[in-house]
């Protein structure tokens, strides 16, 4: 199980919780788990998110491992110029 931090305005999709627990060992399991546990979060996941795992940002790497004690933060999709 990992703890995932949710940004302020997205907590409306996670029953007001800024931190939620999800059964996941990879990034894909994390996103699938969030989607299953909190269906209201699905529109945002479909629009795209970035995920910070222990301070490093990941965009699409489904099989990036997540340790049980990893710091995991959901972020708006980061784009550059």
């Amino acid at each position: 199980m990992v703890m995932v931090k949710i940004w302020g305005s997205l907590t409306s999709a996670t029953d007001g919780q800024a931190e939620v627990e999800i059964e996941a060992r990879t990034l894909k399991e994390l996103l699938d788990g969030l989607s299953e546990k909190y269906p209201a979060i699905r529109p945002q996941l479909e629009r795209g998110v970035s995920v910070s795992i222990d301070g490093r940002i990941y965009n699409d790497s489904w099989f990036q491992p997540i340790n049980p004690d990893s710091e995991v933060v959901l972020l708006r999709r980061i784009v550059g110029g």
Partner: protein, 748 residues
């Protein structure tokens, strides 16, 4: 294969990386030999031109193209009806490239022609009759949010927008942690200020241009100036309803991008015209078209509130950011909200962002999208609070600086970062204590950017004579070809001039992410290093074959294959040239390649220091001295890194002092040319000094961090703080053009 083999603390001695070889593109660019987007021609080529809406907001009731089609020399005319194969994922892009139901801004494309000459094409455009129903328009971000504002898209707001808010708001976002109200209550002083910034353009010298060839068999070729030819391929394929593999895109040399060429404008139109005419079609934008109808950055309206104690400690900070991104959703307000307070270690912080649409061109990325404006607002308030308490602005920033282990304002905990190093370097620099003259002021500000990685492919091939060709898929907008050649040379242990880096077309490599996000030196560099290491394995295997020993007993050092130790045997080293010469005899051509979705890029911080002089009679501002302090992780080619620092500062100077999109009451752009859209020229700027800090990024074998974008984040704030000090009045509205500065002085 593990990617992260850089150990923090390892003091690696580089031989090539960190030196300053001559740039490989210099001679081509100064002699005119370089081939840019408009420098390609084809037999039988037609000229394409676009008809653009003269209205800021209008329903298109009908378009009659019959007279244009009948004009001799016209070979094809297209309207939105020719783009019906586009899938939903590109809906906004298609609508921006060719208006459908409504023209949404002055300059919006409504039709296009391909003709045998530019003169015939221009004449044909005049023969296209468009029946417009003019609608009310709105171009200001705050006005667009008001009840009763003209609505661009019914039902645009998503589930994040509260009931009762204008439908011109596409979404709302909020970040932060702690209790800001409790934090403000503890502060010795709470300061609230509101700020506005104007829309600005990236100002690249080279207008958009392309040459499209699409046959009746659906096979197509496109030559284009772009920051991402793989993105162009994929987007155009989705728009035209063709397989990606049927379209081969070649990137020309590029005359600047800065984010503005990370999307498409002309390209799908040129391909559609070519398909219809069954001939090549060339399209080149005029400067007026570039300014009216490509992608400037957002204009903004930002409220900031910060509580600070008299010892300089920030107790709470909040910001509300309203960004308009033109006629479609997607302004960079999310990134503005995430980066606004990133340089600070805050117990209580909250940012709220609103994404708003207006009747302006669809925004495109501009170098750290969203961050410079947010930094302007936040750093101005920090500056004013610090000075109000009689505190040193750099000391205040050091007191509150984010460090390794800080929970950032946008969520993640920072690993090793370089902000403190830039602040300390600034404090110790002679610029900080240099005397100021009359009407002069000094300003400092910090900035932050994420940087990222993305899909990357590199192929390193060794020629029979032992020189190296490195093939990669990222247009070079910042000197990356030199950096890749240097990293390959470093890994192979050969001279830099033995490596040539080329940018491959989309048929030659797998998917490559756009050149953006300050990603290329990080991601393509990482892939180059890995490709070179793969090639070294093969080189060692070939030497092992010749020596009759186990490949595990061969190492690659200083450009040669060598026996790993005495037990491996006494063989003289084989140089790369020697191994290459017998490649055919030992198994065939020698190469190494690497494909990756490079993740884990390191964030980057900067501190800028600037002195300006204000003419109290005219309000004109002169930049007197400028110094950039930025963390590069590892500067592969220091001169290019310095160039990125200076370029970011130069663009920031223009943005802060002069550049702005000016719209009339009719919603039309009043200054679509470089005469009236005033970007800095060489005579406007002093030499911009640079200090490179190197706090290694653990996610890259050499410690590289992206640098291209962070450099534009602090300048708006640093210059505003400087001008405010020089003028004796706080400036809150960019650009600080002479009339505005004069008015502020007179009012103050």
């Amino acid at each position: 294969m593990p990617l992260d083999d850089h150990k923090a603390g390892d003091a690696r001695q580089f031989k090539v990386v960190g030196t300053r070889p001559l740039r490989p593109d210099g001679i081509d660019k100064v002699t005119g030999r370089a081939r840019f987007g408009a420098d390609m021609n084809a037999p039988g080529m037609l000229i394409g031109r676009i008809l653009r809406s003269p209205h800021a907001h209008a329903r298109i009731r009908g378009i009659d193209t019959t007279k244009a089609e009948a004009l001799p020399g016209v070979k094809a005319v297209v309207t939105r009806a020719d783009f019906d194969a586009a899938d939903d994922s590109v809906a906004d892009i298609v609508d921006n490239c060719m208006a459908g139901e409504k023209a949404l801004y002055d300059g919006h494309a409504v039709a296009a022609v391909a003709a045998t000459s530019a003169a015939v094409a221009r004449k044909a455009l005049k023969l296209i009759a468009v029946d417009y129903e003019i609608l009310p328009h709105v171009t200001d971000v705050d006005e667009a949010m008001k009840p009763g504002a003209p609505i661009l898209h019914e039902g645009l707001s998503n589930e994040t927008v509260p009931d009762g808010v204008s439908q011109n708001v596409s979404h709302r976002v909020e970040f932060g942690h702690g209790d800001v109200d409790a934090g403000f209550a503890k502060a010795d002083r709470v300061l609230e200020r509101s700020f506005k910034t104007a829309a600005t353009h990236q100002g690249y010298i080279e207008p958009h241009a392309c040459l499209a060839t699409m046959g009746a068999d659906g096979i197509a070729d496109l030559w284009v100036c772009t920051q991402g030819h793989y993105m162009v391929r994929n987007t155009c394929a989705a728009i035209l309803g063709i397989d990606q593999g049927k379209l081969r895109v070649t990137a020309s040399e590029i005359g600047g991008g800065f984010g503005g060429k990370t999307t498409v404008f002309l390209e799908p139109v040129a391909l559609a015209l070519s398909r219809k005419a069954n001939r090549p079609v060339k399209m080149v934008m005029t400067r007026e078209e570039v300014l009216r109808a490509t992608g400037p950055t957002a204009s903004t309206s930002i409220d900031v509130k910060i509580g600070m104690n008299k010892d300089g400690k920030i107790t709470a900070a909040s910001a509300e950011l309203r960004y308009q991104g033109g006629a479609y959703q997607g302004s960079p307000v999310d990134m503005g909200a995430m980066t606004a307070f990133a340089p600070y270690d805050l117990e209580n912080v909250k940012t709220v962002g609103w994404d708003v649409v207006t009747n302006r061109p669809k925004q495109a990325a501009y170098r750290a999208p969203g961050a410079p404006m947010a930094a302007f607002a936040v750093e101005s308030v920090v500056d004013e609070l610090a000075k109000g308490f009689g505190l040193d602005p750099l000391d205040v920033r050091l007191k509150n600086a984010a460090r390794e282990g800080t929970k950032s304002s946008y969520g993640p905990t920072f690993p090793a970062i370089g902000l403190e190093a830039t602040l300390k370097a600034a404090k110790e620099h002679p610029h900080w204590t240099a005397p100021l003259g009359p009407n002069q002021g000094r300003g400092v500000a910090c900035g932050f950017w994420f940087n990222f990685g993305g899909d990357t492919c590199v192929s390193l091939n060794i020629t029979p004579d032992g020189t190296v060709t490195l093939t990669e898929g990222n247009p070079d907008i910042g000197g990356s070809r030199a950096s890749m050649s240097m990293m390959a040379a470093e890994e192979l242990g050969i001279p830099y001039d033995q490596v040539r880096t080329v940018i491959a077309d989309t048929g030659s490599l797998g998917q490559n992410e756009v050149t953006d996000g300050s990603r290329v030196t990080f991601a393509v560099g990482l892939a180059t290093i890995k490709a070179a290491r793969n090639a070294k394995k093969v080189l060692c295997e070939r030497a092992a074959m010749v020596w009759g020993i186990d490949p595990e007993a061969v190492v690659w050092e200083d450009g040669c294959a060598r026996p790993a130790g005495e037990n491996a045997g006494k063989f003289p080293p084989m140089s790369l040239k020697e191994v290459a010469a017998i490649a055919a005899n030992t198994g065939g051509p020698i190469a190494g390649h690497f494909e990756v979705n490079a993740e884990g890029a390191g964030v980057s911080f900067a501190t800028h220091m600037v002195d300006t002089e204000v003419d109290p009679e005219t309000g004109a501002v002169k930049v007197v001295r400028y110094t950039v302090f930025q963390d590069a992780g590892k500067a592969v080619h220091p001169a290019y890194v310095e160039g990125q620092f200076q370029g970011g500062a130069a663009q920031g100077i223009g943005w802060a002092l002069n550049e702005e999109y000016i719209y009339g009451k009719d919603g039309r752009l009043q200054n679509p040319g470089f005469l009236d859209y005033r970007i800095p020229v060489a005579s406007d700027l002093p030499m911009i000094d640079t200090v490179i800090l190197e706090i290694p990024n653990p996610g890259h074998p050499y410690g590289v961090r992206g640098v291209g974008e962070t450099s534009i984040v602090p300048p708006l704030a640093a210059i505003a703080n400087s001008v405010s000090a020089a003028a004796g009045v706080r400036m809150t509205d960019l650009p600080m053009s002479p009339p505005k500065v004069l008015a502020a002085i007179q009012k103050g």
